[in-house]
């Protein structure tokens, strides 16, 4: 094992050291194999996504309405300036950020708790693991409809149940979709219900990789359950937590289906993706829509950068 470590550090110093341009055959072989294995995936990714992204960036600099292609005009960054100075854009950004933060925090706590139960549970083990996964397999549009029908006072059951559980204090004709906050509550609930399984599945896989002997050693040393989690378990599964949080945050920030189905953006529940969708699909303002998409993209990149930095996990394995 030590020889392996030596070769690895050797390769690394060879890569870094300017004074030693010569690399060993072994390193060269490893590099070749690395690209042979990673190359196809990289190539597919570039081929399929590079063109659409580049074209969208290009379109964002035009005043271009699909229904009127003759009037297409290069306008530089006019679309960006228009969006950024529009209060509607900032309102949608605020709502999107709010939904992201609330769902992310709740899902991380719930997801971790569920993952821990799933990890240690003995009795209805398979049943629990299967049941927990189901919401994630349900199409978002469908789950959005289900929550919409459930909370509507005419077709739903939730008002009846709340009325019963509160001994008649809850008004059974309460309209959840009549106000901003109640609508946002249902949007968040539905989002949490739908995507917590994603979190717990990733976290469970991370938990299963945690070294049991280290946990036991901590227990023997007299650490409490909570101390063991914070000092041993969480740090060992940092990479899994980061991937779960990053992907969930980015997905949440692009939320579209749930508010689209439930409120259609009424009562100030417009999200950024809905703005993009409305511009490109409904209004056929391709230029403006692309500019909004690029802005959304930039926000997402900033979030990703902050999160990845914050977690200080390096997936390439250079543990210096």
């Amino acid at each position: 094992m030590s020889t392996v470590e030596d070769t690895k550090t050797g390769a690394r110093s060879a890569r870094r050291g300017e004074k030693k341009p010569q690399i060993s055959d072994r390193t060269r072989g490893e590099r070749k194999l690395g690209w042979k294995l990673a190359g196809p995936a990289f190539l597919v990714m570039i081929l399929v996504t590079f063109y659409p992204i580049a074209y969208a960036l290009y379109l964002s600099l035009f005043n271009y309405r699909l229904t009127d292609p003759a009037a297409r005009k290069f306008v530089w960054f006019q679309n960006y300036i228009t969006s950024l100075s529009d209060p509607l854009f900032w309102k949608a950004t605020g709502i999107t950020a709010l939904i992201t933060i609330i769902t992310l925090i709740v899902e991380l706590v719930f997801g971790m708790a569920i993952a821990m139960v799933m990890n240690k549970i003995v009795l209805p083990r398979k049943t629990l693991r299967t049941i927990v996964l189901i919401p994630y397999s349900i199409i978002t549009v469908v789950s959005a409809f289900s929550w919409l029908y459930a909370f509507k006072f005419d077709t739903g059951f939730v008002n009846h149940w709340l009325h019963f559980l509160s001994f008649g204090a809850f008004d059974p004709t309460y309209n959840w979709f009549g106000g901003t906050w109640s609508s946002l509550t249902i949007i968040c609930l539905s989002e949490i219900w739908k995507t917590t399984p994603f979190m717990s599945l990733l976290l469970l896989a991370g938990l299963a990789q945690v070294d049991q002997s280290m946990e036991e050693a901590a227990k023997v040393d007299g650490a409490s359950w909570w101390q063991t989690q914070v000092k041993v378990v969480f740090p060992s599964m940092k990479a899994a937590i980061m991937v779960a949080v990053v992907f969930r945050a980015l997905d949440a920030f692009r939320i579209y289906d749930n508010p689209y189905v439930m409120t259609g953006g009424a009562n100030n529940t417009d999200t950024l993706s809905m703005l993009v969708g409305r511009e490109t699909v409904t209004r056929a303002e391709i230029g403006m829509g692309s500019a909004l998409a690029v802005l959304l993209f930039i926000f997402v990149l900033i979030i990703a950068g902050v999160l990845v930095r914050g977690f200080k996990v390096d997936l390439t394995g250079d543990k210096n």
Partner: protein, 286 residues
């Protein structure tokens, strides 16, 4: 790992799992209940029990509507397309991503950070903004409204995610054990199959499930890059209409949702065994 759990913890955890299962299952049961309601029961609360939850009389009219009735030509082919397209995209993505993630986690080569960064960047681009460029390109290439024309965009959805998840998994595998096995006389292949693969499998299967769900869920690509011959279920659901223009297709949507959910639940059950097997072998390492 089951043996060191005390009896009290065992029953405590079983107790905690009940609210988790209820929270998960009630909306599912609700979709099922709604799909079993007749048009009259959907409009009349008196025809249902448990606070408008479950219909007094179960009706199959929504299911006959989607399988033999007016929505048949829309729903049945769409279901088939969904299965083919999502399975193809998942297999391609996971195979490519497994090689890629293995290389990134295990080998030293320049550019691996660039690959991860590209994957991340690509997966962050708002899907809806890719539709217009792809639509134009697909029409030129003749891929519009074909199954490959959907498989390719679905790879863009699933491949970057798969690369990241798998790299994180592979990162946690103690690769020294592979070397140790080789020192003990195993060939590279034996060491890989006996030591690394069992540790990597739960990650691969978990990734496959997530990739499949992501593809299964897509609405934007399917509704914009297909017309009729390659439409998948989410886009088809959107074209559902009620019996008249004034009735909402609530029941039909829920019936279709139930049907669409069944294959996925079966899939989860099939993969479940692998995941559990993989997770337990992962837990006894070290």
């Amino acid at each position: 790992m089951d043996t060191n759990v005390t009896n009290k913890t065992k029953w405590g955890l079983a107790g905690i799992s009940i609210p988790i299962m209820l929270w998960t299952l009630i909306p599912i049961l609700w979709i099922l209940a709604t799909s079993l309601k007749s048009t009259t029961a959907l409009a009349d609360q008196g025809a249902n029990v448990f606070g408008n939850f479950w219909p007094k009389n179960i009706s199959w009219e929504n299911y006959s509507l989607i399988f033999t009735g007016g929505a048949k030509d829309l729903f049945v082919p769409a279901l088939w397309h969904s299965v083919v397209v999502c399975l193809a995209a998942t297999v391609i993505s996971v195979v490519l991503a497994t090689f890629c993630a293995y290389a990134i986690a295990r080998l030293e080569f320049p550019g691996k950070k660039a690959i991860l960064l590209t994957a991340l960047t690509v997966s962050f681009f708002p899907v809806i903004a890719m539709v217009t460029p792809l639509f134009n390109l697909w029409r030129i290439l003749g891929l519009f409204d074909t199954l490959p024309g959907l498989i390719i965009p679905y790879i863009t959805l699933t491949l970057p995610l798969s690369i990241w998840i798998l790299t994180a998994f592979f990162q946690q595998i103690p690769w020294e054990m592979e070397q140790a096995a080789q020192v003990d006389g195993a060939s590279s292949w034996e060491a890989f199959v006996k030591v690394v693969a069992p540790l990597a499998l739960p990650g691969v299967f978990t990734t496959a499930i997530i990739a499949f769900f992501v593809a299964w869920n897509d609405f934007v690509f399917s509704s914009n890059l297909t017309a009729a011959r390659a439409q998948t279920v989410p886009a088809a659901l959107n074209s559902f209409t009620g019996a008249s223009q004034f009735t909402q297709p609530t029941g039909a949507i829920c019936a279709a949702a139930v049907v669409v959910t069944i294959p996925v639940v079966i899939l989860v059950l099939v993969f479940q065994r692998r995941i559990v097997a993989g997770l337990t072998s992962g837990a006894v390492k070290g």
